[in-house]
């Protein structure tokens, strides 16, 4: 009996074969909240068969139970959410961008925005799940909730850096010693954008190329630029990425710059990726007009390096 209970509450969503029984014997709580039991669970049932798409919906049903409760808020429809681009995910962020950020990081707002939902239909998931972080283990990775579980960023960072070491392995001494020095396994840099109220912090080591970095930045900051100048948000410059984004951004007002170890501001994209992540201290998305002055310095630096 306890086993079936455990399976019902498999929040991690690892069970591969959800049954109707399982779905309908979920806690009474959710049942009474959901106006549309059969339909909802049927809906999730269909999706549960696909690996990787399981848990988001299942997490959703929990969070949505929250939203569907009979709270006497006078017709509080989240109208404003309609104005926000569906692809904006300042709701829950993946671990790679915020969960391990420090206290100083500008984490996206962690509210569970609910789309306008009629009482009879299952509200759309308020958790558009971002891509899994590159280090995701289980295929059914949960949506990462900002600030949950409530562990201080300092502790999270310390654990992150120690887990990547190999304790007790004597042959890896040098590596371990090297890691205990200034070089950290995680490479957090602050990302600021002109006009954006929040700073973000990202771990450069989770990206493998400028392409990945730029698409992540675009997703992170696009919500700020929508409505501003009516321009397309994000960052990038010619040659930096190949997605449809480039089309939008050609002639974009924004470029990505970074502060390097010598405290100079450079344009992102000039140096090989490996070199970039070693020398990048901070990122800033600024207006192209302001970045003009950077080009000559880049040239000088290249010259002095050669």
């Amino acid at each position: 009996m306890s086993e079936s209970v455990a399976a019902e509450h498999d929040y991690i969503g690892l069970s591969e074969f959800p049954t109707m029984e399982e779905a309908t014997t979920m806690s009474d709580k959710t049942k009474t909240r959901d106006n549309n039991n059969g339909l909802n669970f049927k809906a999730t049932e269909l999706r549960l068969g696909l690996p990787g798409s399981e848990s988001p919906e299942r997490v959703d049903s929990r969070f949505l139970a929250l939203n569907k409760s009979s709270c006497p808020v006078s017709g509080a429809k989240r109208v404003f959410s309609d104005a926000i681009n569906e692809s904006n995910k300042w709701i829950f962020s993946t671990g790679s961008t915020t969960a391990t950020g420090d206290v100083g990081s500008g984490s996206g707002p962690g509210s569970s925005v609910v789309k306008d939902g009629k009482s009879t239909t299952f509200p759309k998931p308020a958790v558009p799940v971002k891509e899994k972080k590159s280090s995701a283990t289980a295929p059914a990775s949960k949506a990462q909730v900002v600030g949950w579980p409530p562990i201080r960023s300092f502790r999270k960072n310390s654990m992150a850096s120690s887990q990547s070491q190999k304790p007790g392995n004597n042959s890896e001494t040098e590596e371990a010693e090297a890691k205990s020095g200034p070089e950290q396994p995680c490479l957090y840099v602050k990302v600021s954008m002109e006009g954006a109220p929040y700073l973000r912090k990202i771990d450069l080591k989770t990206y493998k190329s400028y392409l990945e970095l730029s698409s992540a930045l675009e997703k992170m900051f696009s919500c700020f630029t929508i409505g501003q100048f009516g321009s397309h948000g994000g960052c990038g410059r010619d040659g930096l990425n190949e997605s449809r984004l480039t089309d939008l951004l050609r002639g974009s007002e924004y470029v990505v710059t970074y502060e390097d170890k010598d405290s100079d501001w450079m344009l992102v994209g000039d140096v090989p990726w490996e070199m970039f992540i070693c020398s990048c201290k901070k990122l800033r998305i600024m207006k192209s007009s302001e970045a003009i002055g950077l080009a000559p310095r880049v040239m000088e630096k290249c010259r002095s390096r050669n």
Partner: protein
């Protein structure tokens, strides 16, 4: 009319009263008592830096010697408060520098401290002795260097879990050769390596040094050499243990520890290899505090260590201790007062540690003095909570974090209402409570009714409706700080109990259903509350009924603050003005 106590006599009496709560009561008796009290108060505590202006505090307490300030809301620890929200130390430092030059001690928590602040402290307070920064940010090691270099009488310099811009380890060399007053040094949160020879010399010339907390960059060799120079230490935070185990290294370490006969508190222990644990055995019998929460040591190695710690009062550990290890704690650590168990893998994907609710149950049964608990666990049961409440009615702080949001009692499938009811009812001295797991409004009815002494309450992913908030705000007589995230209550309860909010220090709500309209009404109704809306989008651009992302409400006599960033709106008292930033750039 009546007797009037001469102020000299009153002063003398007051010199015996340290507690600020008592002093606050004293100051309310009459004007002359107020005057005498304020002129004699040496230690000032301000729980919310925006509740009162620095100038007012400086003026009221001219003889201030110690100032403690707290800035950001507690949930800032979990990234729920965006960067730039506020909590700046500068205005306070500036005001104190002008009015209270005899200030000797500054303790700041969750505040933004810049290098300018630190330089100002160094320059302004001639007798400065104590600087403790907890969870602060905004400064670099240059600022620390300024303190080290200039404060001749520095006794205490502690950086606890701060975010510091680390420009290198040079700051340590700024302690002048003449400085011998150091009693406590904590630089565990810094990354860069300091020159070990500088540290050795500093330690050697500080005979009063009692507490030393190193950063992970200090090697084992360094640790040994320092311990040899400071065998009188009572508190030690080691560096990292992630180095190759050489046989000589082990015996040197063991010897160094065995010479520290007064060691009571041990922390750090980053990446400690199990092979090194025996080096610590000699100090275990004397330890009252052990922080293993960064030590990736597993069972059964932990048991050997813990069973020797018969005097242990405070234990911080990771869930690697498992239920089995907690059984050992329950058997051997009979003096235990505080237990904190942190998750080793915060991402549930990897959670398969055999730590369950039984671990906490067994400690509750075996450790009679247990009064403070912080426990992270994947799931829990009502039965366990009932047992804990029954066995440990003396609990003062109970923070349970069931990592899975909305997780019910996994054996009965019910909400954890009954369990938390037992805790609230049974633990009559409970001061701090954090709840989690599946909870209905009922749970909060019990908490509101029974948790009479709870001052701080933290809630996440719980409740069904406005009733939840209604229960809490109409009950919980001693409530001072309430923080709530992701709960489905709305405006009604908040507005109904507006008056209660003025009896509290602060209320934080994020991802709930409180509307902008309600915030406006609340602000207008309650003149001495600052109602701050933290939202990426200006509230006016949305209908009044739409929920706001985060709200921070706190009582204040200082009015709306002047340093709000773009994403924080203080609802102005004057409805014509509406919402403003009142930011002065």
């Amino acid at each position: 009319m009546g007797l009037r106590l001469p102020s000299k006599v009153l002063e003398h009496i007051l010199s015996f009263i340290d507690s600020n709560e008592d002093r606050n009561s004293v100051s309310l008796v009459c004007k002359s008592w107020f005057e005498t009290e304020r002129k004699t108060r040496k230690r000032v505590f301000v729980g919310n830096c925006y509740a009162v202006s620095p100038a007012a505090v400086a003026k009221r307490f001219p003889e201030m010697r110690s100032l403690t300030l707290k800035g950001k809301p507690h949930f800032a620890d979990y990234n729920l408060v965006p960067d730039g929200w506020g909590g700046y130390a500068w205005p306070w430092i500036e005001a104190m520098a002008a009015k209270c030059p005899s200030l000797e001690e500054i303790r700041l928590k969750r505040m933004v401290v810049t290098d300018e602040c630190l330089e100002k402290i160094a320059a302004s307070f001639k007798d400065f002795e104590v600087l403790v920064l907890t969870s602060c940010e905004g400064f670099s090691t240059d600022g620390i260097a300024a303190i080290a270099a200039t404060c001749r009488n520095l006794r205490v310099l502690e950086l606890r879990e701060c975010i510091v811009e680390d420009l290198g380890g040079d700051w340590l060399s700024y302690f002048p050769e003449t400085s011998t007053s150091l009693v406590s040094l904590d630089f565990s949160c810094l990354d860069s390596e300091v020159k070990i020879s500088d540290l050795e010399r500093l330690v050697s010339r500080s005979p009063n040094l009692k507490s030393l907390k190193l950063n992970p960059a200090v090697t084992l060799d360094g640790l040994v050499s320092l311990l040899r120079r400071a065998p009188q230490l009572t508190e030690l935070g080691t560096g990292s243990f992630a180095f190759q185990l050489k046989p000589e290294a082990f015996s040197k370490l063991s010897e160094a520890f065995s010479n520290c006969k007064q060691l009571q508190s041990l922390s750090g222990l980053w990446d400690v290899l199990p092979e090194y644990l025996p080096a610590l055995y000699s100090v275990c019998p004397g330890l009252t505090s052990l922080n293993l929460s960064y030590a990736t040591v597993r069972m059964p190695d932990l048991v050997e260590l813990l069973r020797r710690c018969s005097k242990l009062q405070k234990l911080w550990v990771m869930d690697l201790i498992e239920d089995k290890g907690l059984e050992a704690v329950a058997s051997y650590c009979k003096e235990l007062r505080e237990l904190r168990v942190f998750p080793s893998a915060p991402d549930l994907d990897e959670a398969n540690i055999p730590l369950t609710e039984q671990g906490l149950v067994v400690v509750s049964k075996g450790c009679r003095k247990l009064e403070s608990v912080l426990y992270f666990c994947v799931q829990f049961t009502n039965a366990a909570l009932l047992t804990i409440a029954r066995k440990r009615p003396n609990l003062k702080c109970f923070r349970l974090c069931v990592i899975e949001p909305f997780a019910p009692d996994y054996k009965t499938n019910e909400p954890l209402d009954k369990g938390f009811k037992a805790i609230a009812e049974g633990c009559k001295d409970l001061r701090r409570l954090s709840v989690s797991g599946l909870l209905s409004d009922k749970a909060f009815k019990y908490i509101g009714k029974h948790a009479k002494k709870v001052r701080m309450l933290s809630i996440a992913f719980a409740g069904d409706s406005d009733l939840m908030l209604h229960h809490l705000l109409s009950g919980c007589e001693s409530l001072k700080k309430l923080e709530i995230r992701d709960c489905p209550f709305g405006d009604t309860a908040l507005l109904e109990h507006a008056a209660k909010l003025e009896t509290m220090r602060s209320l934080w709500m994020s991802s709930c259903f409180v509307s902008f309209g309600a915030c406006k009404i609340l602000s207008k109704k309650m003149p001495r509350l600052n109602v701050e809306v933290i939202d990426e989008h200006p509230p006016e651009t949305r209908p009044e009924s739409s929920p706001v992302e985060r709200i921070y409400i706190y009582r204040t006599v200082a009015g709306p603050r002047m340093d709000t960033p773009e994403f924080v709106w203080t609802i102005h008292k004057n409805p014509e003005i509406g919402v403003s930033h009142l930011a002065i750039k």
